[in-house]
């Protein structure tokens, strides 16, 4: 066990994967000499050389397209997109190619690439260094989507991602890159996909969150506890595959659901969760499902504190569901 920040845990996860398997390599902008603009790849070029930690020209379609080619051959590339906001030049490669290679070739050309990207708000990044657009990727069949919220999960989910057989969009909540620290197992630590994490047990209301919203939801639960409301916090960890069983079981127990994410509400991932609950846990619900999310606007700079869900908003939504029934 070592005490690490989330971004250090990402770094150790990458290092571990590269030590385990010479086929693992990293490519992206500023990932080599500079160690990544968030230092997630710090020291890796020194250890593994410029052939395995590759500074690329400024082209996301080039990064993901070439990563796909490497993966088709059998390497295990980890592509870094500097900010999730800059992934769109590669969107075509991701949704048209990466997600579909296995299917369209009848399994002859599986294509396992991990695309890492820091994402989310709270760092005063304005429109283009803040967005949470996980739903685009979760919506695309063939992609898996993993989002850690703790250092241990960052390493564990990343190692699972690197050794998975499917393409993984690995979103790192950059707001808590350094804000959270935790014990991280040394060596080959893996956290399975599709298994949600029970952050806190509760009986009155289930709060579903992922990424940087997990600490926000956890803080809200502490506030609620003082008021006698027992909130259960579930960290989804992977949106695809989704741990449906855990989501449904929790609501069957509490009868109430609050879904929290930074992304805009309309067609956000919370909509899917709400639909699943409506389809499969309807008779357990005692109150309408609540969503606490970013607003249906672009992500603002000066007023990002207004846009982002905070503890108050989460707690307020939980109170409302509890009062409703």
């Amino acid at each position: 066990m070592t005490e690490l920040t989330l971004v250090q845990a990402v770094n150790r996860g990458l290092q571990e994967a590269m030590r385990q398997d010479p086929d693992v390599l990293i490519l992206g902008e500023d990932v080599g000499v500079n160690g990544g603009v968030f230092r997630a790849t710090e020291g890796l070029q020194k250890e593994f050389g410029p052939g395995r930690v590759i500074d690329t020209p400024l082209s996301e379609t080039g990064i993901v397209g070439t990563a796909i080619g490497m993966a088709l051959y059998g390497l295990k590339p980890v592509a870094e997109i500097q900010f999730l906001d800059f992934i769109y030049p590669a969107f075509d490669q991701i949704v048209s190619e990466l997600a579909k290679f296995r299917y369209r070739s009848g399994g002859q050309f599986p294509c396992h690439v991990v695309v890492r990207a820091p994402y989310g708000g709270g760092i005063k990044g304005g429109l283009y260094h803040s967005q949470s657009t996980e739903a685009y990727f979760a919506h695309t069949a063939g992609l898996k989507v993993a989002i850690p919220s703790t250092p241990a999960d960052a390493k564990g989910l990343l190692l699972t991602a690197v050794h998975d057989e499917d393409p993984v969009i690995f979103l790192e909540p950059k707001r808590i890159y350094r804000a959270v620290t935790g014990e991280v197992p040394d060596g080959d630590h893996r956290v399975p996909f599709g298994k949600a994490r029970l952050v806190r047990e509760g009986s009155d209301v289930s709060i579903f969150a992922y990424g940087a919203m997990v600490p926000t939801a956890t803080d809200a639960a502490a506030t609620l506890a003082l008021e006698g409301i027992s909130a259960e916090i579930i960290d989804l960890r992977t949106l695809v595959p989704l741990d449906e069983r855990a989501v449904i079981a929790s609501v069957e127990k509490t009868g109430r659901a609050v879904i929290v994410h930074e992304a805009a509400r309309f067609c956000g991932f919370g909509g899917e969760l709400a639909a699943i609950l409506a389809e499969k846990a309807f008779y357990s619900l005692k109150a309408p499902i609540a969503r606490v999310t970013g607003y249906d606007t672009p992500f603002p700079y000066s007023l990002e504190h207004v846009y982002l869900p905070n503890t108050d908003r989460v707690a307020q939504a939980a109170r409302t569901t509890v009062r409703a029934g």
Binding site: S59, A67, G69, D92, S96
Partner: protein, 351 residues
């Protein structure tokens, strides 16, 4: 093909032909001609089937056979092909059985891709022919990454990246050539310039002097070739492959051909092609040009030519018959291969 039609003659002496094709040049020519004839016959048959409604779609490569056959013959089994839209014949030359290709066109149960793609999108891993996409240009940067992996593993292969003239405007053309040059990778970029991107003529695709002229923008060498001249294509492709294999880095070849058929079965070129274009194209028919040369040099006696045509016809018919007899893919294949295991779908927890 009418041997009397006024095709532009290929002006090679036998010595020059031998220099272009190597010591086994007569055998290579014979093979090349057989493949070109087969490609031509297959295209004709498929277009007929499409008109009869027996297949849903077809995009022919008629006019581009010299390029495809030369690429198939000049490359080695270590090499890999990332196709554009019209390189199916490369896969056949490299070992994709015609029958299997027919299954993929019919999208039946025996199609290795389980009928998931439109016709003309075969995948042939054993032939080192990568699953093709409809999305223009995406294969270009993928080919470059693949070449990176080959070098990373210290393998000898070279990657042939095919794309059309239209694809030179795509994002991945730009990224692919740039990355290949920066990382100095073993890739031969083959721009199959058939002068049309559906209805857009090559001169409206770019204002550059040629497509080959785009290479220096990436610090690469670009060469423009007559893609209807089998000798020239074979010679230049062989050289480019040899050079890339020896660590000489990437190169861009522009192979100028004439698209002798509509863009696809959904297209009507009379709407946009100028009068006389088809006639000019016919004079540059690569199959007719090679045939005329071989005949002029007594390498294709009439009976041999007839035999080859008959054999092509029989092979094509047999492949179609087999494909039409095959059942459609099983319904459960619909949800296979989305993820490595079916249980890792979006809702793993409830499986």
């Amino acid at each position: 093909m009418n041997p009397d039609s006024a095709v532009e003659p290929l002006s090679y002496t036998p010595e020059e032909a031998a220099a272009a094709l190597g010591p086994e040049w007569t055998a290579t020519l014979e093979k090349a001609y057989r493949w070109m004839a087969l490609g031509r016959a297959f295209d004709a048959r498929m277009q007929g089937l499409q008109r009869q409604g027996r297949i849903g779609f077809y995009g022919a490569a008629t006019g581009q056979e010299a390029v495809n056959v030369a690429a198939g013959l000049a490359s080695t089994s270590d090499d890999w092909v990332f196709p554009g839209l019209r390189e199916q014949l490369v896969a056949l030359v490299r070992g994709l059985p015609l029958e299997e290709y027919a299954h993929s066109i019919f999208g039946d149960a025996l199609d290795p891709a389980r009928g998931r793609q439109m016709p003309c999108h075969p995948t042939a891993r054993p032939a080192h022919y990568v699953s093709m996409s409809s999305v223009i240009g995406t294969q270009i940067s993928q080919a470059v990454g693949f070449a990176y992996a080959l070098r990373h593993r210290r393998e000898r292969g070279v990657v042939l990246a095919f794309f059309g003239d239209g694809a030179t405007s795509s994002n991945d053309f730009h990224a692919g050539l740039n990355f290949a040059a920066v990382f100095d990778l073993p890739v031969v970029f083959c721009c199959a310039n058939n002068q049309w991107a559906i209805s857009v003529p090559a001169e409206r695709q770019t204002a550059a002097a040629s497509f080959a002229a785009k290479a220096p923008a990436y610090g690469l060498e670009g060469r423009q070739l007559d893609g209807t001249d089998f000798f020239a294509v074979y010679r230049e492709l062989s050289m480019a492959l040899r050079s890339a294999r020896a660590g000489g880095g990437p190169v861009l070849l522009e192979l100028r051909t004439y698209r002798l058929t509509p863009h696809s079965s959904s297209d009507d070129p009379r709407r946009y092609q100028p009068a006389g274009w088809a006639e000019e194209g016919a004079r540059r028919d690569p199959v007719a040009r090679l045939e005329a040369w071989m005949q002029a040099h007594d390498l294709l006696p009439a009976d041999r030519r007839a035999k080859i045509a008959a054999a092509a016809d029989t092979t094509v018919r047999a492949a179609v018959r087999a494909a039409e007899a095959a059942p459609p893919p099983a319904p459960e294949t619909l949800t296979e291969d989305v993820y490595a295991s079916r249980s890792s779908g979006p809702a793993e927890g409830t499986e």
